[in-house]
Symmetry: C2
Subunit: 264 residues, 2 copies
Amino acid sequence: MSVKTMPRNRIFKLEELRNHCQKCSLYQLCLPMGLEEGDLNKLDQIIQRRRPVEKGEFLYRIGDPFSAVYAIRAGSLKTFTTNQEGHEQIIGFHLPGELLGMDAISREIHTCSAQALETVSVCEIPFERLESLSHEIPGLQHHLLSLMSEELQHEHCHLAVLAKATVESRLASFLTQLSERFKARGFSATEFNLSMSRNDIANLLGMAVETISRLFTQFQDQGLLKVERKHVHILDSASLHAMANTCSSAISEEDDDASQNSSS
Amino acid sequence: MSVKTMPRNRIFKLEELRNHCQKCSLYQLCLPMGLEEGDLNKLDQIIQRRRPVEKGEFLYRIGDPFSAVYAIRAGSLKTFTTNQEGHEQIIGFHLPGELLGMDAISREIHTCSAQALETVSVCEIPFERLESLSHEIPGLQHHLLSLMSEELQHEHCHLAVLAKATVESRLASFLTQLSERFKARGFSATEFNLSMSRNDIANLLGMAVETISRLFTQFQDQGLLKVERKHVHILDSASLHAMANTCSSAISEEDDDASQNSSS
DNA sequence: CGACATGTTGAAGCGGTTCAAGTAGGGTGG
DNA sequence: CCACCCTACTTGAACCGCTTCAACATGTCG
């Protein structure tokens, strides 16, 4: 019933371990989507809370054996691969409510590293137990597949951006998507802090840091946004969105009113 | 027991519908991996064979309702998205034994189009039935997740290539991976025909057709390969592989002897 | 307060695109 | 079977978007 001996990680207060998913603010984003209360309890029982991962620390590294997936409760991370020459390529930034590590399923070792951009709190979900639970709970299996499918769609858009988009379009696309993700989490879509460095953004978008810097100034001069170090305030999200020219599958259902909102 | 009324598609001879997965040469690549005989039969019963898809025809298009995934039996396809301006971005080329369409799970509509590069034969697998079968068959659920995880890994490498690699490195990476995929299917790893046009390759790798053309001549001059129209003969796969500089997760388990093979 | 990381701005250089022209297949109809 | 066309591919030369290099500014942390 209660969580058994916890592997090498300090655990949190016991009451937090019970019925936590129901209380979690990330309810819709994370795993429990569409599950019934009884099922939620079952899920809760296999979830472990790990001690916070401090900025710069790794949640896992390339080559680590795969044993669990991680749901982000707070903070943000970056995932990246390394090529033969040791060059680091950032795959994505990850926000609360997202599930990390599913790409390791087939090889049973992690194929990218996950590093905290700020202090991060995660739920560790042993994958074997999650998998067997998916056999009992119909919605869970579908939800796992669904999450991976979303990840694929997102990568497809990222591919399209890297393959052909101009630098303006890349940054616009990045900011637009980030804005929408914040919005989905109940934060402001127009004002937020970047937890990642310019270097990380440049890396993700396949360009030079200097170019990112120049673009931020350019966007500011054009009145698209205000930026001061990490803080970004989007002023003209419609233009930014038009500039982004993302692939059609990236378009959310509420795009129309999003562009109406700020076209004034 | 037998397959019911087939939706709008001509069906093949009835005996082909029975126990087919066991006889299929793509046994290890496709779905049945690690399943027992009884399970294979269950799977076989939900699989439908569609009439061949001719070159240029679509298996599905962006926006089509998602009802099935497709296992490629013969031939090859390309999948691509379209951005707001209508620009087509190729996501990947797909060979026999691969499963197509899983990226549509979450939205229940296809987010990319799949078009045949040559005459293609596919097994159509109604997704709802595949999903419920996954509840009965433990290995199947894992296999589905595993396939999607592999797809993610592959996209990660593609991302890394598009973000930073030089044009030489991109084409080398493309050829190396294609070669390995042919090898895995029992074809020659050093001699094969490209089913896609130079245009398609250029699009996939985010560069101009002219550059692809120049690179093929350059590679030939360097003695890395011989190429005549669609036919490619790789002469120095070791150098090509070194040039590729792919992300480490792309490295297959047998890379060592692969590079030894041709380093003479 | 100094030292180091991070970010900004300017100027030069180059990798790859774009434009332009030409070549080669491959299919069609006479 | 050949003449024809059209598409796919190749090759050359000019151009330009972005990177690279360099110098400086600004935060941040011990």
